[in-house]
Amino acid sequence: MSEYFEQLLADPTSFHSLPYDEGFKLSREQIERLHLEGSRNRFAQLRPRLSVLDKLAREQGIDGIETIDDVAPLLFAHTIYKSYPISYLERNRFDKLTQWLSGLTTSDLSRVDAHGVESIDDWIDLIEAKSDVMPSHTSGTTGKLSFIPRTKVQWNQTIIHSAIIIRDWWGRGSGPDILRDGMPIIIPGYRHGAAATQRGNSIQVEMYARGEENALFLYPDARFSADVASLGGRLRAVEARGEAGILDISPVLLERREMLLELERRRPDDLRQFFSEAQRRFGGKDVYVTAMWAILYDWTAEGLKRGLKGVFGKNSVLLTGGGKKGKELPEDWREQSLEFLGFDNIFEMYATSEMMGLCMMCERGNYHVPPVIVPFLLDPATGRPLPRKDGTTGRFAGLDLMPNTYWAGLITGDEITLSGWENPCACGRTGPHVVPPVRRYSEKEGGDDRIVCAGAPEAHDRALEFLAELAL
């Protein structure tokens, strides 16, 4: 125990491969010491090498971390990883985008020469080829992608970490030891791509499935394109600049759009193939399935429609999370998904793309914050940290101490309630935990027929989406 704690203090990154259940046996004093010393060390280590963090520290007038609340002003706005001007994409200024990204990582990007690059996908591939960074991007629901400069080493660590969680979450060694024994993987999505959900695919194929023959994807050959994911947002930005912006639309963008349409046309075939392969190759076997709930539901509903039930083995595992993502799902969407899958060994998480750590849901329905994530609740109005008092609700922010090449300290757009400081969760795990529900502040603030005369109508945006879908 003490040795475990000493190791975390000395190197929080090592948490990724240590027995996961140990992390929830620490005392409050130990957790607080780890939070304070870990933040202090990470800040001291990264600040001189991260220009953006250095700028923030200067802006805030903070030179060292005395108390844990000193960390709060050093957390990035969640928009930081998408704070590049979208015009860089439209004008093919990927050299500038590289420069922007280099302010957010200690990795050396100097060998990346992005002159002449014409698409985000190509830019991401170039960085991967010429540096130790393997950038990932968000799915772009707002239309502007965040880019997170996680390294190849860190991606490996996250995949190891997920396997350790599955092994130890319900007790040490209670789950399958995927790293030791391997396990087939089933993913109802794209095989390739740099979005956070695809980034780990190759590593999982290698580490978990131990070869493509033990892996099944809905789109086994296709890439989830960052250029396509960003299309809506880019067209919006372009349109906001009027005619001046429209002249900047890149032909590559239009090309990628064609690829997407082709994929959509092939979807029924791909689905048929996916289900038949799932049954033929993996039916009744224990497998590892991972997907966000909303995507998982689409897949399982389609399977149930085809009369498929209880497809996989009883000792299969599902790693999932992400909620409904604004989708309209039936009341019993969870039950339906499980009926199709045929097992109920679910690992459900609450996580953000920028952090490596995951908050796993316990048998009481709470999400446990691992000790290497320093959680904060900020007052939504002032941004100041709220006291560590059970049952407090506020804007969730956190610093993940695991990443050591970029600053994984940021303020989310989520409203959450934290407990577990004073009294541990009834499940027995120590440390802070998130009590559902998790709500987006943006959802909370919208919604009734408040009418104003200022604004640019969403009709326009929707027309653009329509354009993106059909008319270009």
Partner: protein, 484 residues
């Protein structure tokens, strides 16, 4: 205190004060109670058009007399309905108390007799409202025509970001001799109520009082809207607001209903190189820019958001842009409190964007630390990606090498453009109009609103609110001859 707000239903002089339904408000989490419109729905539309006749027993001057008298009674110090509307607005509005006080203290001033007459003279012509106006000779021999502007039975789905919207609606309705059902917005349900209630107290049986109703129902409420948006009782819908507001209504459109949309708009600024002629000029430009950004706390469609500046994009040009940003931010902070104050409910999403760009070399940010407002100066010739979210007194200065970039950035959602100097405005005005701009003003004058009231987004809504009826007289002998 937040539970005490009641929004009555007023139908043609009858005030219904039941509190059947609770509605959640927006900012401040305020809720209010209002009668269930469904119970009274049959009385709301005017199904019998012949009942418009009483409005024609009044002369234009009679109507002005009525409105002037109404204006006198809207004294904030004495009128408890105005006080109640003010009290609720202080919670729900994006405007600070000092600005709202300024507005509510001056409600009556909007009912200036001469100004109302001039407004209608420019908007559709008082003689057309008063009489059948001869249309002059025609190419058909002996045919003469006379046209008169008649009022229509209208539903007004109004905006709630400033009390002026309610006032304009009441004035336009009366002076065009129309019949109005005002659908109240959740962000200001009481200002229109205060006006109409005061009308009822003043002369409950007056035709003008009998031809205005106010109601709150939740936008999209099908049972209510199906009954109201029916061409047997409603001829025109004047809809403020964005996609959702209009989307609800568009379902009910059919021949016989004319929709006049007053879309949300954004406004901007173009500043020519002359601004940098000398320090005194620059300071004056900065103050005028602060006025366009900050007046009414940037809550209006007339408020400037993206500011194109012809200062160049080289190092010296950027220095000039940054200097303007610094001065304009200082001027913003110095605006008098009845015009502009730090925003009481600063947009969190916008704050997160500002916090992020502050750390990037692509932008310089003046202010924006709390709720004081900000000037973000782009260090290249494009605006911030969140330009449509600019609000709460946050402007974005964009340096350009020449004004062409600025001109081409204007589109159909651009309402007002403040321009400096005057010569540049004249030079660009036709081209800006081609692009979609609707109102060009001297830098600093965006919030006067003066002519936007009638021309409103270049659509002349008052003219469109009327029915232009023609009576023609042909020569009987000519018609005989045609018949052969």
């Amino acid at each position: 205190m937040t539970d005490s707000f009641r929004v009555p239903l007023i139908i043609r002089g009858e005030i219904i004060e039941d509190a059947d339904v609770e509605h959640g408000g927006r900012r401040g989490g305020v809720s209010f109670r209002a009668p269930d419109v469904a119970k009274h729905i049959a009385k709301l539309p005017l199904r019998t058009p012949s009942k418009m006749a009483d409005l024609y027993t009044l002369s234009f001057d009679d109507i002005l007399d009525y409105l002037v008298e109404l204006g006198k009674r809207l004294d904030h110090a004495r009128n408890r309905h105005v006080q109640e509307a003010f009290r609720l607005s202080c919670i729900t509005s994006g405007l600070s108390e000092s600005i709202l006080r300024h507005h509510y203290d001056r409600l009556g001033a909007m009912f200036d007799r001469d100004e109302m007459r001039r407004m209608m003279e420019r908007g559709c012509g008082v003689d057309y409202l008063e009489s059948w106006v001869d249309q002059g000779p025609s190419i058909f021999p002996g045919l003469r025509a006379r046209t008169r502007a008649f009022g229509a039975r209208c539903v007004h789905v109004i905006a709630g970001n400033a009390p002026i919207v309610s006032i304009l609606t009441v004035i336009r309705n009366a002076l065009t001799r129309s019949d109005a059902i005002i659908k109240l917005p959740s962000n200001d349900p009481l200002t229109a109520v205060a006006l109409v209630r005061t009308m009822v107290e003043m002369t409950p049986d007056h035709p003008l009082t009998k031809h205005i109703s106010v109601a709150y129902w939740k936008g999209g409420d099908e049972a209510t809207e199906e009954a109201i948006y029916d061409p047997r009782g409603v001829e025109k819908i004047i809809a403020w607001g964005g996609f959702d507001s209009v989307k609800h209504i568009s379902r009910y459109l059919q021949p016989g209903i004319d929709l006049i949309t007053q879309d949300p708009k954004l406004s901007g600024t173009i500043i020519g190189r002359e601004a940098f002629a000398d320090e005194a000029t620059l300071r004056s430009v900065a103050k005028r820019l602060a006025l366009d950004v900050g007046a009414q706390n940037q809550e209006g469609c007339v408020s400037a958001r993206v500011i194109y500046v012809e200062c160049g994009t080289d190092e010296q040009g950027l220095a000039r842009a940054n200097r303007l940003g610094e001065l304009a931010f200082a001027a913003l902070q110095a605006l008098p409190p009845h015009l502009s104050t730090p925003h009481k409910a600063f947009d969190h999403t916008l704050k997160a964007e500002i916090d992020a760009v502050r750390l990037q070399d692509e932008y310089r940010v003046f202010g924006g630390r709390e709720n004081e407002g900000a000037l973000i100066v782009s260090q290249e010739d494009f605006p911030v990606d969140f330009s449509r979210q600019l609000s709460c007194r946050v402007g974005n200065i964009v340096p350009v090498d020449d004004v062409e970039t600025a001109v081409r950035s204007v589109n159909a959602y651009t309402q007002t453009i403040g321009i400096f100097p005057e010569a540049l405005k004249e030079k660009l005005r036709d081209r800006l109009a081609f692009q979609g701009a609707q109102r060009l003003v001297s830098l600093g004058a965006a919030a006067t609103m003066q002519h936007n009231m009638e021309k409103q987004d270049a659509i002349e809504p008052v003219r469109r609110m009327c029915k232009w009826v023609t009576e023609e007289t042909a020569d009987g002998e000519v018609l005989d001859a045609i018949a052969g």
